[in-house]
């Protein structure tokens, strides 16, 4: 295996400038949407007193969960010693930071009082998993920056393993805490489950790697640097394992709930009695899990890079749908204050809540993705994140010339 040379991308082409401009444009639009929401109040959004967390939170949680998963590739090289993943480590750390910052921006801009961010930073209620999340998110950015530094500065390479282990442990705690935001809520029938934390961890593996695969491929295609099939295939096969693991945990979650009479009606709601059931079966399971697995492993598709990319895209669609069903669907199902009673009130007790995302919310969510993209775009131009070549002969330790 040849020595890997990392180099900044040139970043002067018209396409690069157009992409940067487009991302900046989306960011500006998102900021205007956030200002509009803050100035006029959340009445301009689709969120209400029944569905208190909406599309911005779906985007934010998706990005934050993906962020911790994107670091996986670097962790596999540093923590588990797989040299084949080593050239990908710096980009992995970068994508992780970028996704997290994108997700956090959405979360902060959606707050009822975003001007009180300083208050949030200085008043901590340590029994709140939300407060712990804030510590984990900020710590993650710090640790990954140090990790990148260890990876990218030659004389510190020897420390990259220890820092990599610390980063790996930290990111596991982060995703556990994110899953526990929902898992700790006793009030809501669709949440209140210990499996939420591990499910989020495995989901992070899945969508983080899918995003990383797509970003990696795009980066190499658009800069016309060579990338070999061995690298893509390795990532694709790993992604398939994660997709299957997510399906497994989702199955366990629902099967366990179905066993209890207590959860019968909420399971009926989630699996067969609502629009969320449609999203679950068609988008999360069908298009988001089963079809990608076919694309990744079926002999007809598994060696075709187009299907690898389509599969990764579908995994993202499935992951997004999963977060949507969890966040929105979980709130739509009414709180059961009086089991065994029919309930009506002026505050929508006993009613399934409806939610229609509004434009400002969707624009804010897209802006978060744009922020992540912009950070990656400029970082690879400023610093040496990308190897000059990921061709098979340069990176594959088991490469044998075909002739």
């Amino acid at each position: 295996m040849k020595r890997i040379i990392y180099e900044e991308i040139e970043g002067k082409s018209r396409a690069f400038i157009k992409l940067a401009a487009a991302l900046l444009g989306l960011i500006v639009i998102a900021l205007s949407a956030a200002y509009y929401m803050e100035h006029n109040g959340h009445i301009v959004t689709g969120m209400n007193n029944q569905i208190v967390w909406g599309i911005p939170h779906v985007f934010a949680i998706f990005l934050i969960v993906a962020a911790s998963g994107a670091l996986n590739v670097a962790s596999i090289s540093s923590v588990f010693g797989k040299t084949a993943y080593k050239p990908l480590a710096p980009l992995s750390g970068l994508v992780a930071i970028a996704l997290l910052m994108g997700g956090l921006s959405i979360l902060v801009l959606d707050l009822g009082r975003p001007d009180r961010l300083i208050v949030a930073m200085t008043h901590y209620n340590f029994s709140s998993i939300f407060a712990w999340n804030m510590i984990f998110y900020n710590g993650f950015i710090a640790i990954v920056i140090v990790y990148l530094w260890m990876l990218m500065e030659g004389r510190f390479n020897k420390y990259s393993r220890q820092v990599g282990i610390a980063a790996f442990i930290w990111r596991l705690m982060l995703t556990t805490a994110t899953g526990s935001i929902f898992g700790f809520l006793v009030a809501r029938e669709a949440y209140d489950a210990a499996i939420m934390a591990p499910m989020f961890i495995v989901l992070s593996f899945s969508i983080g790697l899918a995003i990383f695969l797509l970003v990696l491929y795009a980066a190499y295609q658009w800069t016309e640097r060579p990338i070999g099939m061995a690298t893509i295939k390795r990532l694709k096969n790993l992604l398939g394992v994660f997709v299957a693991a997510v399906m497994f945990l989702v199955a366990i979650f629902h099967l366990t709930n179905l066993y209890a009479a207590e959860h019968e009606s909420v399971e009926h709601f989630m699996l067969s009695g609502s629009g969320y059931a449609f999203i679950f079966w068609v988008f999360q399971i069908g298009l988001g899990s089963i079809l990608p697995l076919i694309y990744f492993y079926h002999p007809n598709f598994k060696d075709d890079v187009r299907f690898m990319l389509r599969g990764a895209g579908l995994v993202l669609l499935g992951g997004f749908s999963q977060v949507y069903v969890i966040v929105i669907g979980g709130q739509a199902y009414p709180l059961e204050l009086f089991p065994g009673y029919e309930v009506t009130s002026s505050f929508y007790d006993g009613e399934i809540a409806s939610y229609i995302p509004s434009f400002p919310e969707i624009l804010l969510g897209i802006g978060g993705i744009a922020i992540a993209g912009f950070i990656v775009l400029f970082a690879v131009k400023l610093l040496k994140f990308l190897p000059t070549s990921l061709a098979d002969e340069d990176v594959d330790p088991h490469y044998r010339h075909k002739n």
Binding site: E38, N40, G41, H42, I43, N48, N49, Q50, V52, W53, L111, G112, R113, P114, R116, L117, V119, A120, H123, Y124, N125, S127, S128, I129, F130, A131, N133, M134, I181, F184, L185, V186, A187, R188, Q331, L335, L337, F338, G340, Y341, E342, V343, T344, S345, S346, F347, Y348, D349, A353
Partner: protein, 247 residues
């Protein structure tokens, strides 16, 4: 630097408070002051956990279609004239109409913040804005609330509301504004002056009873010790301060 002048005079204040209270109790009809007035808390003293405020709702006296308590709360706390669609309107308390599925029996009752002993909303608030006062009243410190709505996700009783639009006419006694979360305060501004919450005072049927659950001689403590009552979602073991009879 000049010293800050301390203007409080506890003994004089206590005398004035007690005499006003006794005179008031004689002048105003029974049912308004439902707890001991002789124990008037001096203004400058902090609340303690010697007291635990609670409410007893007798749903047998609650009529379907009557929402006097809800209207009184809305007027007292300034959320009566909110603009906007129903889904975003703030509701500190609401009347819930029940029909038991297996028997067909109907009932009606007001639901508000249950002022739990172990409030899930307090556990989850990232800044500590959602807190429980020593005397059991669960409040939102709107100065440090960042409007994240996590407490709304966590409350099993759907007691909390988020203010979705700017507040135009500020109430003198219950400051409230856009972008923060709020809920029933047991009319803490009245309770601290030894009065009862507005809902309790307004109920013509005397269905609501407010008092100190820790005081064995208070009417509410006597009644809950003698008569059957239950809490909503008792299984969650949050131990709410609001108890219901007749359901």
């Amino acid at each position: 630097m000049t010293q800050v002048k301390d203007l409080t005079d506890p003994s004089r204040r206590k005398f004035v408070g007690a005499s006003v209270g006794v005179t008031g109790a004689m002048l105003i009809g029974p049912g308004i002051f439902l707890h001991q007035v002789a124990q008037a808390k001096p203004d400058a003293e902090a609340v303690t956990d010697k007291v635990r405020w609670g409410m007893l709702v007798d749903t047998n006296k609650c009529a379907t279609g009557c929402d006097d308590c809800v209207n009184a709360c809305a007027k007292e706390n300034g959320w009566a004239n909110e603009k906007g669609p129903d889904e975003v309107k703030v509701q500190w308390m609401r009347k819930v109409d029940l029909k038991e599925k297996s028997t067909g029996r109907e009932a009606s009752l007001p639901v508000m913040c249950q002022h739990c002993e172990k409030p899930p909303c307090v556990d989850v608030c990232p800044t500590g804005a959602s807190f429980k006062r020593e005397d059991g009243i669960v409040l939102v410190d709107k100065h440090i609330c960042i409007g994240c709505r996590y407490c709304m996700m966590a409350c099993p009783y759907k007691a909390r509301s988020f203010v979705h639009s700017p507040v135009e006419n500020h109430d003198d006694y219950m400051p409230r504004g856009m972008g923060v979360v709020e809920s029933c305060t047991f009319c803490v501004h009245l309770v601290d002056k030894d009065k009862s919450p507005a809902c309790v005072t307004s109920c013509k049927e005397k269905a609501l009873l407010f008092g100190d659950l820790n005081n064995k001689n208070s009417e509410i403590a006597i009644r809950v010790a003698k008569e059957n009552s239950r809490q909503i979602r008792q299984d969650l073991k949050t131990n709410p301060g609001v108890r219901y009879q007749g359901i």
